[in-house]
């Protein structure tokens, strides 16, 4: 079972929740894999403190021009949809940071002057934390704009059992690549107009990807009920609430997971997982009937 923890807005508590759930399930004797797909700013390792045993670099293929073969016809520049190649007079400029690695320049060059060379876009680090808890995250190279291929590579590190995936914020490519083809998406939000605005976008994203979702309200406070109202109107289920608390913020600031702050959080996260599993199973049954 693969569960993604996502949110439209950044800083709502995705990592707190993903880590809490992974540690609570591991403590209960489950085999768990924690994947941090927020490759621009991964933070899960700060709380899980894994022992990293393996590194793997991730590459995309970018063009290199052989000027002895090139006759500056401009074909590569013409077909490149990302404007990564510029042919001017007797020179070809390649903008590696714009290249998406489609390989078109290599395929279409009439002179065979384009070779593809690997360019590193990031690294995956893999390891284990406690007994039965596998860990992997990606770190995007600084200055590289293209994160989705790295996200995809991290997602391949699933290892059976329960997989908890920490997603990047937003609703565009990196988040989409993380959430798609998972069994469930838990959306973490806060009860403010910011939280609501971005939650609505994130819900739309899960619907476009056909992934069932549920809501977790972080920094909940008596009387702040705009998320409750929205969920009721849109037939969405609030699965858990975490209160607004300086104590919790303080623990987070030191890298202490919620489950270490109070045992009760372990119980709450296991209950959350049970509820998610029930939703996933009933969803599957519903789809079978169709």
């Amino acid at each position: 079972m693969k569960i993604t923890v996502a949110s439209g807005k950044g800083g709502t508590g995705k990592t707190t929740v993903a880590v809490g759930m992974a540690l609570a399930l591991q403590a209960d004797g489950n085999r768990v894999t924690f994947l941090d797909c927020d490759v621009e700013e991964p933070n899960g390792h700060i709380f899980i403190k894994p022992d990293i045993q393996k590194n793997e670099d991730v590459f995309i293929d970018v063009p290199e021009i052989n000027l002895e073969k090139c006759d500056f016809c401009g074909k590569c520049s013409e077909i490149c949809a990302f404007n990564a190649l510029l042919v001017a007079g007797e020179s070809v400029v390649v903008f590696h940071e714009l290249c998406h690695g489609c390989g078109g320049c290599n395929y279409f060059c009439p002179k065979g002057a384009v070779t593809l060379i690997p360019k590193k876009i990031g690294t995956i680090e893999m390891g284990t934390a406690a007994e039965g808890l596998n860990f992997a995250h990606g770190q995007l190279e600084i200055g590289v704009p293209l994160s989705p291929p790295l996200v995809d590579a991290v997602k391949k590190k699933q290892n059976g059992g329960i997989t908890i995936i920490d997603a990047p914020p937003g609703t565009s490519c990196p988040a989409v690549h993380t959430v798609r083809e998972t069994d469930f998406c838990l959306l973490v939000t806060e009860p403010t107009p910011f939280g609501l605005n971005d939650l609505a976008l994130a819900v739309e994203m899960t619907r476009a990807l056909d992934v069932p979702c549920g809501i977790l309200v972080n920094r909940a406070r008596e009387g702040w009920d705009i998320i409750d109202k929205y969920c009721k109107q849109n037939n969405l289920k609030i699965l858990m609430k975490i209160p607004l608390s300086r104590e919790i913020a303080g623990a987070y600031s030191k890298g202490i997971p919620l489950t270490f702050l109070d045992k009760e959080w372990g119980v709450a996260f296991r209950r959350l997982f049970r509820d998610i599993r029930e939703m996933v199973e009933s969803e599957r049954n519903n789809r079978h009937q169709w």
Binding site: K9, E40, F82, G103, G143, P169, G170, T192, A208, S253
Partner: protein
Amino acid sequence: MKEITVISGKGGTGKTSITASFAVLAQNHVMADCDVDAANLHILLSPEIKAKHNFWGMPKVEIDAEKCSGCGICEDLCRYGAIKDGAVNSMECEGCRVCYHACPEKAIRLVESLAGEYYISKTRFGPFVHARLGVAQENSGKLVAEVRRQARELAQKEGRDLIITDGPPGIGCPVISSLGGTDLAVVVVEPTISSIHDLDRVLKLTEHFNVKTAVCINKWDLNLRNSSTIEEACLNMNIPVIGRIGYDITFMAAVMERKPVIQMTSSVVDNIVSLWHNAEGILNS
């Protein structure tokens, strides 16, 4: 014309609340929201939309089943696994058009894709350019570039000499697009180990692109030890810490009232005013 961009690495550190407060304090400026993925600044500025424009993303491809001979060249060439059994999965398609150029039957056509909208608006705090990227759309970097272009044009047209930009979180494509050519990046950080980790990466990014950078510590009294770690790290890198804002739920309360936090009654108001003066000082130096 000067441009100041507020970024953070980690999301949720208070970028938008601080940017909106700058909108109140600054004069003769244009506002821009470059967090096109999950835009929030409009919630605090209550814009009146004056003009709305379509944003066209990369065209996607479609296969004409009548012309397709089933040769499979497109499927072999597609590096994104977006074509299977003669059909295109638009979620996987990167828009590279290799299949379109390669198809011997000319059975693949380009389909324009509406990827979002951008708006030119009027607010109590001056003109405002903002956008909405369609859900699950690509090209946020391109939309960011469009928002910045519009903001610059607007500033020129109206004789305004400052652009204040709310940036996106992270260090990827939209952030890079938000930073190019800006005069000052203000990085809002909080004293949490996560945010310190992200600060390190975002400072490497601004250095990589040679952008003048200053740091503001929000919630600085949440963890004083971490705050002094940040101060020390910035000192070593020769990056000024130009603001220290206390931990205060007034930040959330202001969002509930949909107004910039600087319009609330709280001790953080003075903190933000001095942050703004320091930022202005750097911009004008």
